[in-house]
Symmetry: C2
Subunit: 202 residues, 2 copies
Amino acid sequence: MNYYPEAMARLIGELQKLPTVGPKTAQRLAFYFLKMSVMDAKGIAQSIEDVKSALDYCTRCGNITDTDPCRICTDPRRDRQLICVVKDPDDLLAIERTNQYNGLYHTLMGVLSPLNGVGPQELRMSGLFERVEKDHIKEVIIAISSTTEGQATALYLTRQLTQKFTVSVSQIAHGIPVGGDLDYIDELTIAKALEGRRPFGP
Amino acid sequence: MNYYPEAMARLIGELQKLPTVGPKTAQRLAFYFLKMSVMDAKGIAQSIEDVKSALDYCTRCGNITDTDPCRICTDPRRDRQLICVVKDPDDLLAIERTNQYNGLYHTLMGVLSPLNGVGPQELRMSGLFERVEKDHIKEVIIAISSTTEGQATALYLTRQLTQKFTVSVSQIAHGIPVGGDLDYIDELTIAKALEGRRPFGP
């Protein structure tokens, strides 16, 4: 890397820390920053710092937020007895974008993964149990993707919740995506879709 | 985008300006920045600003540099009568990495592209002509990729240089990449390789 001036080499090194960015992409991005106007480059550098200084996780639900508790947790129009459990804030935002859900959220910040040393203690589960008890939650919807680890997490949560509290626990439906062609869908998804079939008609 | 806190939405917007970064990648990178330590995030933000403040283009050869003229232009061990013409600093660095070239460089900052309004005036050509005349350059190697526009640029440069000065002009060889399997190489490259064949043997 000694072909680059030092500031350039450092930026390329920093960019390579990002996900999906290898040496080639890092170099291309670095050259792009170099060609940008000073104002644009300052803008992007400032935004990165702002994200770190202005944002944090909501202590109640774990959503990313600039106020604590977050806007969803304090929204009086939302159903305060319904909690949707998601893996992380990315998934929370994916559900928000549908505009179809009107309850609160709880992010676990991961899924159970014993091989990687992630047990129930490492996830934000106790916070969920507290909320279910204190806020008299009626229903918990588990919206965790159906990987092996995701399903183990969902199963563990369901058992804990139904044993400890009188709350109904449901899971989002896994099946064929809308517009999905059966031909191109893996067998497991089709099996799940068959298993989750519902009576047809009004 | 109103699902994100404002600082997050702004960062995602800024990241989308980068090449190869679409909405999904921008969101993933933004979340990654959020999860980074404050120090790492500050480091990357600082590097971006540094690249803009510490680096500029060498007024002589157009290389990116933190001194002007750049380290290559002032290196006394280099052959000062040989200039390699490249499209941009990326290509210059690609040649530097081979450790096989010991002359100076001249970057054009683009290639002729009449459709996009890029004529000889828009490129750093007059600077090249000046250098060839003043510094008594003996040979100019044209190292521009063999696209239509690249070849038009090479042809134009060769004509101008040979008409105006007594300098020999050569072009890097286009042919089969080392280790390249003929089966997988396009016809034009094979044609170029045939055309550029050289006598075999010592």
